[in-house]
Symmetry: C2
Subunit: 463 residues, 2 copies
């Protein structure tokens, strides 16, 4: 269907788009209307999974569950949204009243954030009356997709730069406000040391890092004046950007200024290099600092970095990196082929059979088997009702619309993630695609269910 | 500097992150503190531009100005944000009070949304006291970057599918709530016919399109029952998804059902195909519909489409397309190399000289020269003070912190954009990179200023 709505003119700044139940696809509402009218409100099971690994990727990192649970707990159609919707063609008063009363009353099971996962493995399952479970599709996909995308990218950076401080510098190139905020969170969860995004510090308690821009140096009459004024404004924690004019000359100025700054009680913590051949500049700058008695001053680098560049700079005398665009847009794979699919309705397993898009039916569980060395050996994709060796990865997160536990601390999620990275076998830690993919076995019972669903589906398709 | 803040625990759902002045890089605040303390509050000129065309791109489309003006008019630090910030190390009470009083009081000139632009051309200029002009960098870059990115991508889709209806289906893969909303707007501005994102219809008056998901068909006992129930819930405007089981069988069912549906006053507007070989299926489906007397029923296709796929489907009997992931993440180029740079401070032109990142200094204007055929011939990048042939593209948009005109209607922006696409010379309309780039001349006066700034900068760098 198509409609040409009139825009509503907000008197005050518009509210958070992520908090509106209208941040969804129109087809969710058109389907809901049909479900309500025909009484199709029995229990439905949907699962979210990613179909395949893009490019050189070997694994994914689950993230975004916290945002999904917040969304589900807060889901309701506001009066203003409903007033607008009731003026659109195709939606009658009875439908609007059903929406007004709608709350999410279902159950959620999910892999905890920071869990490694692989193609076809569900990381979240929703069980709820069909209209509810359907309505939440768009936002659940958006939240899990984006946070898992960025956490997976960030984990590659962490693997590429062991022992180095990594800081998210990506807010300005992130795709909008929520992306910037959640990218900072996903990167920290995956092992970054912090972010430059102030609001992410406020919302999530993530450590904040910041220095100065080239414009700061340019606005002053000399680089030395810029350094001195910045240092005096931030005596406890000064980082100086030294590449505005000439990187090595900038480092030499820092050395010359150091005695005076120290007399004033100022501690220069680091210098930052943001352009040119970072390895070459870092070596020269390190030598200038060391020979000038500034061994404590660390070298921080930024500028167009991704995990490949970080790996190439592993031997350079650089203590930390700012990673921007490549991280927050997941430049090598800005979107994942993921889906939230109906697996069961009214107690009967379902399976999508569209060409190239078949899915495993029914309620599933993922079991992880570790080898004797403590590394990941294989996963088993099974029916939820099967007993299998290995730890089940999907855990209860919400029952009857209420979360079962408060949000875990970011530090807890981050620790889980870093422990999981330790479990990754060497071939999967590579930035290149491993010769053989991680083993995910499908149990005979699940295969048998798929066959049974296919048989039934062929009958249905004839009708 | 680095700090480890405590997260603030919101009692109610958190507000729009895009409305918080803390949605910025920490370095903006550290620089502001130094500027305030040292009285560096004279007038600064910053310009936003993109450095280079990525991949196969031949042009950009300016978008996001409306969001920038809204942001600047509404800019203020809220009490809650300031209370949190005052608890962070490095920010004293005097600084917090300066932030509390801060408003944007500057001027903005910009290319209207929907204007074509090319590398190194400023599309927006801010003139304001240095702390204000600096602070707004992060959000201005984020807003202009994302909307221009998506509008540019959408314009390629429009060029690839002349005369076809294009609909944004991307919300679930967009990078967060604001991205989904603004992608719908940017795509419509660039010539798409509408979006599936309901909230974009409400906020911007964009036409809405929606059908059903495979889950809808799967949840019913038969495809025929699913079609009939959907049609009865949406009799005025029915689109049926026919590829859940067997695409051609689905089309045949629609034909068989048509007499009964027509008796009930139901109009089937279109069928949708979402998988397999879309061209092949569309031909077969078109034949089935035509032979069944359903010539009025249109064929709509979706599923992993980008501008190359649209071009390849140009001859297929498909009336419209849903475009999702590739559009909203700008898959071939998910980030642009763009910057917001200091061009002048306290009346003196500035230029960044970092390796590989030099910029043109001073206040600039872009003049567009059309050929005798009405097509774009060349642009001239000049000092603002120069007289040049051709229409100046940067226009006054805000003075002393107040916008000069209300937001133009989306229809007006869209009409401008489509007229501009008509002005594109044939080589630049191609999906491949044109053999020679569009000509952007730099005036002798601007080159002379750059040389002068370089001479001065060499002196400054010595200090």
């Amino acid at each position: 269907m198509s409609t040409t709505p009139r825009a509503s003119a907000p008197a005050s700044p518009p509210p958070d788009p992520g908090a509106s139940a209208l941040l969804t696809d129109l087809y969710q509402l058109t389907m809901l209307k049909a479900y309500f009218e025909h009484g199709m409100e029995q229990s439905a099971v949907f699962e979210f999974f990613v179909r395949k690994l893009p490019g050189a990727r070997n694994f994914f990192v689950a993230a975004g569950l916290e945002q999904v649970l917040e969304y589900l707990e807060g889901l309701r159609f506001g009066d203003e949204d409903l007033a607008w919707l009731s003026g659109q063609p195709g939606f009658d008063g009875a439908f609007i009243e059903r929406l007004r009363a709608l709350r999410f009353t279902g159950d959620v099971d999910a892999m905890p954030e920071g869990t490694l996962f692989f193609p076809d493995e569900p990381i979240l399952r929703v069980i709820a009356p069909l209209p509810q479970a359907q309505l939440v599709e768009t936002r659940i996909v958006a939240l899990l997709h984006f946070s898992s995308l960025i956490a997976s990218k960030a984990a590659r950076c962490v693997l590429a730069a062991p022992g180095k401080l990594l800081v998210d510098f990506g807010l300005r190139r992130a795709h909008g406000a929520e992306a910037g905020l959640l990218a900072a969170r996903a990167a920290y969860l995956a092992g970054f040391g912090g972010t430059a995004t102030v609001l992410a510090g406020k919302r999530f308690g993530i450590p904040l890092y910041g220095t100065m821009a080239h414009s700061f140096v340019q606005a002053h009459e000399s680089e030395t004046a810029a350094f001195a004024e910045f240092a005096r404004a931030h005596p406890e924690n000064t980082v100086l950007l030294i590449d505005t004019y000439d990187t090595e000359a900038g480092a030499a100025k820092v050395v010359r200024m150091m005695p005076q700054l120290e007399r004033e009680g100022i501690r220069v913590k680091a210098v930052r290099i943001d352009s040119g051949d970072l390895a070459e500049h870092a070596r020269k700058v390190r030598r200038i600092l060391d020979e000038g008695g500034c061994r404590e001053v660390r070298v921080f680098a930024s500028g167009g970095l991704d995990e490949q560049a970080l790996a190439a700079l592993a031997a350079a005398p650089i203590d930390g990196f700012g990673v921007g665009t490549s991280l927050v847009v997941s430049a090598d794979a800005p979107g994942l082929d993921c889906a939230y699919k109906l697996q069961e309705y009214a107690g009967v397993a379902r399976r999508k059979r569209s060409e190239g898009k078949a899915t495993w039916p029914g309620r599933k569980q993922v079991h992880r088997v570790l080898g004797a060395d403590g590394k990941l050996e294989r996963d088993v994709l099974a029916l939820e009702s099967e007993r299998q060796p290995g730890a089940p990865l999907l855990e209860p997160a919400m029952r009857a619309g209420r979360r079962l536990a408060p949000a875990p601390a970011m530090s807890e999620l981050r620790a889980r993630m870093l422990a999981q990275l330790e479990q990754l076998p060497a071939p999967l830690r590579s930035l290149e695609r491993a010769a053989s993919a991680y083993r995910v076995e499908v149990t005979p019972a699940l295969k048998a269910l798929a066959d049974e669903v296919d048989r039934r589906t062929r009958e249905v398709a004839e009708r």
